[in-house]
């Protein structure tokens, strides 16, 4: 299982160059007090032997480590795979941001129920810090991890009594502008689709409520619909709601995928989008351009998200105190919910 392929190491180079291991070490490190000629000879030799330093040993000795673990929690019950486009894109952005800064990225999928196996990554020295992609229902567990002083940043919404550092889109604002957009285009009964047990969704629903208040519309609990992120399940919930009564003319969803499901459910129920019901997505993934109708959606800055998460974690690692950070979002208006009512 574990290849015992014998690699060339410092001792070999030392022998071949007729110097000591320390000299090789210093030469390779570019230590200026080593004779330029020796240094050159050693480097040459190392290169010709395809020698690369054993980072494991180096880290052990130096007590250092340049590896950051990126953790994608998954739901063990459904064995749900990492497939949401936004999270996948975020993982890509994190890879970019970390690579740019010279860090290695350890990607692990971890059972959401036992997030402290994520902690083991740091406590076992595999990684020096944790980026957790999504807080899901695990606000409390995350707080616990933070209380254990793990260097940790989480993509998600900022909640009261939060001990960990989160970076996320401005969810309240997102829910607000999405709803406001629909109201301004003349819609009056705006359905909110999403599972408010998730902090991000909870905050977006706050924004939805706020927009309704602004417009002087009474909040109506029958317009709150619990819809999970997973596509099939989402479609089912939406179909059920359509069957229960088409008493709304606008829908605010929590992802572009969910918006697509909503459009399909509405059409299956004989509604036209946006003529009868307008639909707003969330995330503004590339897919939003390609659907029919193209999606009006709340744009989240994925690339910036990657950068900010990494910067926050590195600051934490430097011992700085890092407050949660909220990134700007904005509306992108397309066909599924035009600016003027159809």
């Amino acid at each position: 299982m574990n290849e015992p392929r014998k690699r060339v190491q410092m001792a070999d180079i030392a022998r071949l160059a007729g110097v000591s291991v320390s000299t090789v070490s210093r030469a390779l490190a570019g230590n200026p007090q080593i004779n330029a000629e020796t240094r050159e000879r050693v480097s040459q030799l190392a290169r010709s032997l395809n020698y690369t330093i054993n980072v494991g040993a180096q880290n052990l000795r130096l007590q250092k480590n340049q590896t950051i673990a990126v953790v994608v929690p998954y739901d063990a019950r459904v064995r749900q795979h990492i497939s949401d486009p936004f999270f996948l894109a975020l993982v890509g952005a994190l890879a970019d941001a970390l690579t740019d800064r010279g860090y290695d990225m350890l990607l692990s999928r971890v059972d959401a129920e036992s997030l402290d196996s994520a902690a083991a990554l740091v406590e076992g020295g595999k990684a020096i810090g944790l980026v957790i992609v999504g807080q899901w229902r695990h606000h409390d567990q995350l707080n616990e991890l933070a209380a254990r002083k793990l260097p940790l940043v989480v993509w998600g919404g900022q909640m009261p009594q939060q001990l960990y550092c989160s970076v996320g889109g401005d969810n309240v604002m997102g829910g607000l502008i999405a709803t406001r957009h629909l109201l301004q285009s003349g819609r009056r009964r705006v359905l909110f689709a999403g599972d408010a047990q998730l902090p991000e969704v909870y905050l977006r629903r706050e924004g939805w409520r706020q927009a309704l208040r602004e417009a002087g519309i009474a909040a109506d609990e029958s317009l709150e619909l619990v819809v999970p992120f997973e596509a099939i399940a989402a479609r089912t919930r939406l179909d059920e709601r359509c069957a229960a009564g088409l008493d709304f003319d606008g829908v605010v969803t929590c992802s572009d995928l969910m918006a697509v499901q909503a459009v399909q459910a509405l059409r299956a129920a004989g509604q036209r989008v946006p003529a009868d019901v307008a639909v707003v997505g969330y995330d503004d993934m590339p897919i939003a351009t390609y659907t029919e109708p193209a999606l009006t959606t709340v744009h989240q800055p994925v690339l910036m998200a990657g950068e900010e998460l990494v910067e926050a974690l590195l600051a934490l690692l430097r011992g700085e105190t890092v407050p949660p950070r909220t990134l700007p979002v904005h509306m992108v208006t397309r066909a599924s919910a035009p600016a003027a009512a159809a």
Copy 2:
């Protein structure tokens, strides 16, 4: 930069438990010759201190390593990000497959021009093997790496004189069935869109040619169009081709994204899809369902791809000889190229 946070280690547990480090080591390893009572006491202590073994040190000592590097080459000139949905999905699938088997996944983005910085990951002991996501234009470099005896598998097409182990979809078959599908639905002038400098695309074009031969249609070089994968550039090329003459009634593309670009370019040129021109995508990513028209496309098995890549690499690591592997593909017929001509 490198957190010197002092972690609890074996010595601490040993001291607290009043035993030696070796006993702790054995106890934690579940060595049966350790007194059950001692073992329990030590484990208890370890757990209560949140102790996790330092895997770096353990690996150094054991000469082992459970880390696989997944490398996504990128083009330094354009600093193109990991964004193609198929590759992102493949990375997700790899994460799943590796996690399931107890391996860690190191994700790195590497400049495609200097792929041997990928080699350094193995030679420096960070990882024991390499999964390279896409062969791009680097067939020769990959051969070189393989010649260096690096444990390495590559997602991509199988080419003549290939020294490395590749796992990929059946590209010839993919090009063949896509073209055949169009021909059978009555199309006669089928454009092939893709950059045949890439092995996978080269093979798909072979399939395209073969389908034309089968149908007794002479290959027409003017129906080969070099289209890059990147969306904006792809759109430009397709627009140019449409302007140069709409002398085709079907298009075979090399990704679903490219198919979407083709649809948009055709529409901009006043064509109806599929009435005037039918378009076939490639990959069958979720997006293919959501576009308008929904895409007829060649399905590639992403999840299986992740599994097969990992299995192949592990076999390689076990010292087995692993032949390149080709995974089945199949047509998925949707609206952009219906079975019967429109």
